[in-house]
Each structure stands twice: as structure tokens, then as C-alpha cells.
Symmetry: D3
Subunit: 238 residues, 6 copies
């Protein structure tokens, strides 16, 4: 029995509010239950030095948690003067996930920076960030295409992410904070709209798992992402 | 004529949404037109080393802007590895403003940290932060009093802030970004519920001003704060 | 009665020693009683990247306190690896104050950096810095004009600063350290030679003040600056 | 055909030289072909503050690359003043992998810090680090047990890691630098001596993969780790 | 012929102004020609953690150059966020030099921090710092002895420093900036009042030297330090 | 009697293993007894900005100690976020020593960076670094000459370094850690193949020394370097 009363393969309530801020070329507020992430996509007509003049664009991401997005207040990374290893790990993952579905040549010599800022955390902030990031990027690219800045759509397919884990012996989908803190092992899966895997990170600090466990988590992740893809399409079409 | 069509002494639409996040002891989303700041107040039963064992509490504040809260994307301070001088100046101002209306002895040996994070910026983010900070702090202190942790109310009166400036020769209240960028001189006024001044910072990078100008700005600030006090009371009572 | 025995509207003994160091284009050692600040103005024929090619110059300032300029030794900011929020606030204020009286177009594409280093502190280091900064800048600009590098004088008028505060219920001019530590509220006023206000920052951490208090402080500041202007003229003419 | 001429399921030549340095409680130089990592395990009779007094120990890891361990010289992280996101990601992974096979209660209130420094890099430095780290930790724990400091062996089983990827359409084991740079997708697998998975991170920046691909990589990883376990046992028994 | 017209064994004009600042327990402004260094000695009744409870004191030093102490303005180290290698090298040398003549047991469990801040630089700032540092330390220790805090004098003898170098083929004493920039090799010698050597650092970036050269520089250094010792005694006795 | 049983003028066992790593243009592992330093020389066809376009090259060095190269584990400088003063002092010394024997004009517009990383420390790591650095640089320059990138040999002579000190009243050569920790005074001497001195740094934290002591240390250093020069020639010729 999950603490929230959800079925093992049940996502938390998922909402995506597109256009949450007015300045960004694309943005949304994505919520998985009490986890809420504000995502913005910013288009800049310049590239990092090592990419200039190669006819190709770039997509990158940054991630942060507001100090009191969590149960107890955490240090503000800007005040501490550096980003934690966890923060860097997550923002690298978001960037790789987005680039996996973008043809950087078609994007042209410009950069899209996606900022994922966690307003409220209850588990699964990195996967919510990825799922929201695709929506914000989609909106920003649509704007570029409408303006005629890009000819052919550089986004090849959707990308979404969800966590799964083994809680109290049972594989469950979309762990909230209570489950995440007690799961023997858990994983984050990044999947694409065409049924492929982009990233899979499975980790067992407590209890080690086997092949069978891995496959069952993978299957749950596919079910979860199918729902997320649907919500992404609705949000970005509105 | 103001770009927004407002009268010289007219605030932007002001809304305060209390309880915006669930973990913080007090929180609100405060909006002055398109300027939106998420404020949380966190209570911690510990003090910075230099205050321990003196029978007194502490109130402090931190401030940040999400990278794409602005018209064009700014650097993430956590990634740059330091807070700008502007950020530090603002968070020091918010902290002083709050402490000016709190009896730290009555607060007891605990610390309230107020985080002001700008979700969307359109001028006046520091004054919106102060006005929202009082609401979040009020809610956190109410919770402490209801729990019996504090006997006597340590908050002596309200505190709110607003900007005023001379735009196109006319003193105007609550400058938005367009006005702020073009004002000859402008100021931020922090006033208390009992009609006193806590901080007044008036600055003229373009056009210098005189005593008379200062007094006219002050008068506008008082009008503006009267309205903000009313909104604070409604928000924190709900 | 002031601890120093001064009248409420009496400045401390003010001396300005121009040309205190030989390398800088302009320099002085300014003293208000026991507060002593070494100010240098350095001319560089280059601009920060964001200003290049716009036909305009720049004036900026940096501020520091020697570790043992104070009653007890403070940390060396270079060793700590960062400037405090207070330091940054002050150096931004000095820079704004100077720019308020300079026509940057007439300065041409060059930068003047004014360094204010506190040799000995006894209250009022930021206002002494501003008052001395004008002298060092004036000397540096005179040198540029004598060399024919600048045609028309870019300095429009003088700028000076002084602190005022309410000490033991009485408004007093030019607070020393003992007064500053005990003042209910105090302010720093930056005024120009043509009788205008450039910056006014009034703050009440202890006791809040009202309009009348603000005006009385302002009046004292004007009296104080009149004397400082006189001393600046003598120093820079020598 | 692999560039090195190896069979798809063939490891590079693997050597582990135990006791490579004399000061550390445990150490080895581990080589997978041209990839060479110097690993030391240091025992300290103290704990990080957040773990003190809980009757439990800690195992952690740090990772670094010598500036010229790579084809072209990279910046020295100590000179740049910060560790890259990649470095932090790797050292967190090494630490989690080791802790997955250690009973921290049995270790007692002490810390083992494993340092993995890459002397020469040719792909697979993080997996070589993990495989060598177990050997160094095993030696250090043996020393503690021989000294009677620890009663019961806190190491539950072996842990080793290897990379696999899809190179030119074929799943291959233990990628070298040339393969790694060209692989469509690749993964790092951390497995335990009892046949379980501790971490699996599979990533596709170029080409996305499916369930079947994931399972084939997993199978290769198991084969590889079986050989590494054998080499670890020999090295740590010597 | 030296650019300054001095004889090869002639010091620049040397002045030591004791008590230059009022807060420090000891202080002086020391000048060797146009090189001017402000030195303060601060006594603190506390020790760094690694020295506590050992019945012994500590003497340490910090060094800095004001940004415009030099011909062209240098970066402010506090603004850059770190001290240069040169700065650290110099402050370590000053600290070692002072400790070489102090009996730390007799000093008792307290720390003397000597700050050497270069007001104006014209070569030889590190040796001027050491020579001035002894005076400031002497004054601070005298104050401690007069107050009865220290029984027996912990300062065993004087310490002073001077530079020598081979300029245009001739060994010369006390190089100024022009000589220093052109010397084939030069050295800094730290000598004690009892005729011993504490530190000798001789370096040849341009032209290499031999034993004979080293001895001739040493002989000049002894002559120079004899004069400096005399000036130190006068200054600290006043 | 030395703790190691060596004669006063006896070096520790010296070995130089050239070509220790495969990527660097030149490299060696140099050992003086238990002190082992891995040295690599990297050639880059670019220069620091301040040297570009002057027809001259540059030679520089970086130094580091692996965290557990020492008896007890030290902090990783990359994790601490800065290099210690000691590290910077040493790497500046290595760079100066190498440049003293290189004609930078003949090197052409390229940079050689020598990295010295201490694998195991037992005293004398800075002098071992210098002695090994010459070998690695020699190999890198040979490669450039063989490739025809350089016409005339820019290396004018050899450079090597050794420490000497007064241990228990006797001048001894090549101090190991135990001797170094107990020596009254010690020095590092950098000598060239043509019998000249490049750097001499003698320091007495405990016991002060005189001219005679200095000369005796110098004589030992010459003897030691003669042996090191021989080993360098053999290693770089292989």
C-alpha cells in the first residue's frame, strides 16, 4: 500500500500550465502532485565560444531549488557561492535529455537555455523538470518557426521523464518524497515519443536489485511517460 | 501621461496570495502588476553564532531573481558563484526593514529567514519583496503564537514599501520597468503602519532633485503604503 | 551633549591633503577627525566591454578598509575571497555619486577608477570617501585637460557627502563612531555644488523617524556640505 | 570490428598493482589497457559533523584527473578553483557504489576516504576507479581488522564496474576512448559479487536505444564484472 | 652609475613614522625612498584552532598592495576574489621572518597579526614590510609588557630585510623599481640583530650568478641592515 | 648520524623513468628515495594573451600533491576551491627555474606547461619536481626539433635542484621528511649545468645561520646537482 493510496502504476495528479511567465519565449509551471517546477526557455542569438561558426545550435539547461521549496530550508546556492554536485548532475541530465530529441543543425546558430526552478519539492523534481522542459522548448521553437527564423522543425520527437522504484517490495511509479526516502532502489527514466530510451539511471543505496527488477521499473516508466506525453501535447498546443 | 495610463498616484494592481507554498511557515505570492515575487518565511530554532545565548532572536532576508524573470535572461547567481552587489544591497534592505518592526527579545532565541524570489520582474521588485515579506513573517509568527512558542506578539506594526520617482517631470507612484528606466530620479520608501519612516533611499543618476521633490515623493509613498497596508491585513487575516 | 563636545551642526576637523601618492593621476588623503581615507583616481584609456564604441566614458569606484583601520581587526577581504555586501553597497554609492556630476560624453572613451581605502575609521567613511573622491577625480580630469586629451570640462559641479543622525533625540551633523553606534536613526546625504540632492539614504534600525526628522537632517547636511565644498575647492586648486 | 581488434565481449588488459603507495592504508594502481588510475584508501578516526555520535561510519570518494592524463592538456581543477560537474558526478557515483556493499554500523565511527586519481585516460576512468576503489578499501579494512579495531567484516561483497555501449551497431564491452567518442549510446554498470546491480546509467546523446539494447548491455556488463571480480580477489589477497 | 645617482652600497632615504594609526597596538609608516608601507600589529587574545591549549602564541602576517600603489592600476585582490601567488609568498615570508626572532612560549596564548599594506610602491615592498613589521610588533609587545600581560620579553633580537642585486654588472643595495626591473639577478635578505641570516632568497630570471656573486650580495645586505636596525631602534624607542 | 644512515653528502636513491605517460610530449616519474613525482610537459601552440605576437614563447609550471601522497591525508585543493600559498610558491619557483635555462625567442610562439604531481611525498618534492621537469621539457623540445618545428635548441643548459640543511648540527644533502621536520635551517638550491646558481632559498624557522653555513650548504648542493645532472642526461637520452 502506497502512503498516498495510489495504485503502483498511478502517476500523481499532473498539470502543466503553459505561458506561466511573460518574458520567456516558452514557459510552463508543471506539477506532479505537490512537486511544482517553473520552467522557462530562453532563446539567445549567440552561442558559447566553442560552438561558434559551425552552423549548429545548442540546447542547455540550468536547475535550482528555491531555498524553502523543501521541508526544511536549504542553503541558497548563490549565497554559498557554488552549485552542489547534485544540482550540476541534474542540470547536465536535463540538457542531455533535450538535446537527444533536437537536430542542432536545424536549430541554427542560436542557443536555447532552459531554466528549471523548483518552487515546491515533493520528490521527482528532476523528472518533472525534464517533462516541463520539453513543453517550454516546444513553445520557444514554435515562436521561432512562426517568425520564420527556423525553416524546418528541429524537434524530432517528445521527451519526458519519470521515476520508478521498489517501495516496500513492490515496483511503483512516480515516487513522492515519502516513498523516495524509503525506497530500496529507484531510477529515473527519460523516454522519447517514439518509444526509445534516452537515459536510464538506476541506483540502489539500500537494497541491490536484479535484471528482472530493472525491466519491471522500465515497464512502469513507459506507462507513465505515455500519460506525460499526452499532457505535454495538450499543454503545448494550447 | 504614464505609459501604463495610470494616474500619478495610482498603484499597479496589487494582489497577495497567502499560503502559496506548503512547506514554509509563512508564504505568499505578491504581485504589483507584472512584478511577481514569491516570499517564504522559514522559522529555525537556532541562531547565527554571534547571537547565541543573548535571549534575543533574529530576522534576516535573502533575495534572488530567477534568471528569466527579466526581459532578457540574466546569469544565474548560483552558477556565477556569487551574488551581485545589487542582490546583497536588496537583501540587506529587506532584513533591516523587517527588523525595524520586530521586538527581537519577544521573538525568543529563534531565527526567521525570509526568502524573496522574483518570478517575474517589471520594476519595483525590492519594494514588492518588503511588502510581501511582512505578510509571510506575520503568518509564521501567528503559527508560533498559536503553538504557544511565543507569548507576546513580537511584531509591533506593519511595514511596507513602494517606489516613487519623477517621470517626465511629474512625481509618480509605483514605477514599472519602463518608467523606472526613464525616470530622472527615483526612490524607495519603507514605511510603517504607525506612519513612520524606516528607510528612504532616493537616487538621481540622471537628473538631480531638491527638497521639494523629496517631500512630494514622500507624500506619494505614504498614499501608496496606506493601500498596501490594507492589502497586507486582508492577506494575513485570511 | 555630543561625546566629542561638538555643537550639533559642527563638522569634525576636516583636512584634505592633495597629491598624497605619486603614481595616481589624482589623489588625496581626506580626514574628518580620526577618519582618514586615501583616495586615488586612475585614468585608463580603455572601457569595460559593454561601453566600448559608444563615444562615452565611465567613472567607477572601489572601496576597502585596511584590516586594522577599525577598533578591532577585521578580516582582510582579499584573504576571505570576497567583498562584503557592505563594501559593495558603498562602492556602488560612490560610483553613482561621481557619475551624477560628470558628463560621460565629454569625458571621452576612457575610464576613471577611484579607489577609496580607509586607513583609519571613526565613522563616516563612506561620506568621507565621496568627498575625497571628487577631489581626486577633479585633479585627474585637470591633468587630462592640461594634456589636451579632453576639450570641454566633463565635471558639471562639485559633489560631497556627509552623514547626519538623531543622537539622543537631537539631530546632529557628521557622526563619529560613538554617535553612529548609538544613533536612533541616521542618514547619508550626497549633495551637489548647485544645491541639489544626488542620493539620500536614511535608515532607522532602532527608532523610526518622520517627515520632520527627515527635513531637519537634510538641512544639517546642506550646512555640512557647504563647508566641504569650500575645502574641496581649496584642495583641488592647490 | 573494434578499432583495437578486441572481440565484442573482451575486456582490455586488466592489471591491479596493490600497495602502489606507502602511506595509504590501502592503495592500488589499476589499469584497463591505457587507462590507469591510482587509488588510495585513507582511514580517519573522525566523521563529518552530521554523522557523529550515531554509531555508524562513512565511506566517501574523491576523483580527479591529472591535467595531462588526457590527449590534450585540461585545466587543473585546483587552479580553476572548482571541480567540474563531471568530476562531482563521478565521485558521488564512486562513493554510492562503495557504500552499497559496506555495513556502515560494522565499520564503526570512522571514515574511509577513497581517492581516485587518473594518471592516464583512455576511456572508462570512472569504472576503473570503482573497481580499483574496492581493492584499496578491502586492504584498508583488512588492516583495521588485523589491528583489532573492527570485529566483524563490514564489507558484504565485492563491487566492480564496467562500461558497455553500442559501437557501430554492435554491443561491446569496456569501451576505450576511440569507441567511447563514437558510440551511439553507452552505459556504466556497477555490479556486486552476489550478482546484483548497484547502479546502471545508460545514456544516448546520439542514438536512442530500446529495452532489448539495454538488456544486451547488461549481459555484457555481467561478463566483464566476473573477470574484474577475479582480478580484485587476486590483488587484495596478495 | 645607478639611475638614482646613489652609491652601490647606499640605501634610499629611510624614514619610520611610529604610531601612524591610532587603533592598532603597534603601527608605523615605513618609507624607503618612494616605497611606503603602512604596517600595523594587532594583538588578539585568541589563537588559530591548531595552536590552542599548547601554552604557546603565534605571530602571522598579511600583505596587500593598494590598487594604485603601482605605476599603473592593478586589480584589487578583494574584488578578484583571491590573493595572488606573489601576495601569499610575501606574507608567508614576513610571518616566518618575525617568528624567527620571537620566543612563542614567552608570548603566551595570544596572536599578533601584522598587516603590511603598500601605500606606494617603488621596489622593495617586501623588505620594507619586514623592516617595518618588526617596529610595529615591538610596539605591540611593549604595550603588553607594560600592561603586565607578558612577563619576559619574547622578542629575542631585531629582524630587518633589504634587497640587493646585480645591476649593470655591479652589485647594488636596496634596488628601486627601475633597477629591479632591469637587474640580472637579485635577492632578498632577512637578517637578525645578532648577525645571523633568517632567510635568503636569490633569484636569477635573466642572468645566472655564482658563489662569489652571492657572497657580495650578502655583504651588501649586512651593511644595509645595520642602518635599518639603527632606524628601527630609534623609531620603537620614541 | 642521519636517520636513514646516509652519509652527509649522500643523495637518496635517484631514479628517473622517462616516458611514464603516453599522451604528454615529455614525461617522467622521478624518485628520490620514497619521494615520487610524476612530471609531464605539454606543448601548446598558443600563448597567454599578454605574450601574443611578440615572437617569444613561454614555459610555465603547475604543482600539486595527491591528497594521500602524505603521511596523513590532506585536503584536495580542487575540492577546497583554491591552491594553498605553498603550492603557488612552489609552482612559481619551478617555472622560474626552467625559464632560466630557456631562450624563449628560440622556443617560438608556443607554450610548454610542466605539471608536477606528487604521487608520494617524503621530503624534497619541490626540488625533485624541478629536476624531473627539466627531463620532461627536454623530451618535449626534442620532439619539436625532430618535427622541424624549432630550428635551434632553445635549452641552453641543464637545471636541477636539491635541498640541503643543517641537521643536528651537521650540514646534510637531500633531506628526507624526518630530517626536514627537524632541521634547524634548510635551503633549496637550483643550479645549472654550467655551474651557476638560478635560485637559492635558505630559511631558518628554528635556528639562524651565518655566511659560513650558507657556503657549506651551497657546496653540498653543487655536489648533489652534479649527480642529478648525470641522471637527467641518461634519462633524456634514452
Amino acid at each position: 500500500m502506497r502512503p498516498s493510496g495510489r495504485a503502483p502504476d498511478q502517476l500523481r495528479e499532473l498539470t502543466i500550465e503553459p505561458g506561466f511567465t511573460k518574458h520567456a519565449e516558452g514557459s510552463c509551471l508543471i506539477s506532479f502532485g505537490d512537486t511544482r517546477v517553473l520552467v522557462t526557455a530562453s532563446v539567445e542569438e549567440r552561442l558559447p565560444p566553442w560552438l561558434r561558426g559551425k552552423g549548429s545550435g545548442w540546447v542547455t539547461a540550468e536547475y535550482g531549488m528555491l531555498p524553502r521549496s523543501t521541508h526544511t530550508r536549504g542553503n541558497r546556492e548563490a549565497a554559498r557561492g557554488k552549485q552542489s554536485g547534485r544540482t550540476q548532475e541534474i542540470q547536465r541530465l536535463i540538457g542531455r535529455s533535450l538535446r537527444a530529441v533536437v537536430d542542432l543543425q536545424k536549430l541554427g546558430e542560436r542557443q536555447i537555455t532552459v531554466d528549471c526552478d523548483v518552487i515546491q519539492a515533493d520528490g521527482g523534481t528532476r523528472t518533472a523538470s525534464i517533462s516541463g522542459a520539453w513543453v517550454a522548448m516546444r513553445m520557444a521553437v514554435d515562436k521561432l518557426m512562426q517568425a520564420g527564423a527556423i525553416g524546418e522543425d528541429p524537434i524530432e520527437t517528445q521527451v519526458a521523464a519519470v521515476s520508478c522504484g521498489i517501495y516496500d517490495g513492490t515496483p511503483v511509479l512516480d515516487l513522492d518524497y515519502v516513498e523516495d526516502s524509503n525506497a530500496g532502489s529507484d531510477g529515473n527514466f527519460v523516454l522519447t515519443g517514439d518509444g526509445k530510451i534516452v537515459e536510464a539511471q538506476i541506483s540502489a543505496e539500500g537494497e541491490r536489485f536484479d535484471d528482472e527488477g530493472l525491466l519491471r521499473l522500465m515497464r512502469l516508466a513507459k506507462m507513465g511517460c505515455t500519460e506525460i506525453f499526452e499532457a505535454q501535447r495538450k499543454a503545448s498546443a494550447s
